[in-house]
Amino acid sequence: MPAMESDAIRALLEQAFPRADRIDVEDRTGGGDHFQVTVVSAAFDGLSLIDQHRRVNDALAAPFADGSIHELRIKTKGTG
């Protein structure tokens, strides 16, 4: 399984949420496959928590599909 840099995850999230107030990516184990991401964006306003997480999962679908993300913890917040 290819490991992934936090910066590559961040780039995908920035692409999906260009006007986010905050995007944090933490490599939880240093191994490049367990990540904690935090996204605060107006794009989440009015969405249920599950739909907010779906947006993040969608943004990271490629590294999920090829197995480079083994575990992802997600924290999302709207701005409203």
Binding site: L49, I50, H53, N57, A61, F64, E71, R73, K75
Partner: protein
Amino acid sequence: MKTLNEQISEVISEEPVTLFMKGTPQMVMCGNSQRALQALHAAGAPVTTVDILPDPRIRQELSAISGWPTIPQVFVKGELLGGADITEELVESGELQRKLDDALGADRSQDVKVVSLELI
């Protein structure tokens, strides 16, 4: 015999709270499955668990049904609640307890049940 897809859909729609996890409550094989299970216990939920590890097709079929890529997955009354992060967040805020109170009543059972899928 029912297909895997039919079996999974049946568990989701028939059980009040279903947790698709790695392992069983007696032998949890993944930290996130453990987090989800603990959060459900803390919320006083009855939990029906399905182990996805016996066959990779279980996870494939489940994700095709739910549109959710990761394990664990928690369903309440047939509806996807989310993974471990959302379950923990909704228990901390008290929202899941309220949802369960509404759906199952405050004096609900807190039984833990393990369902095995039939694999061909």
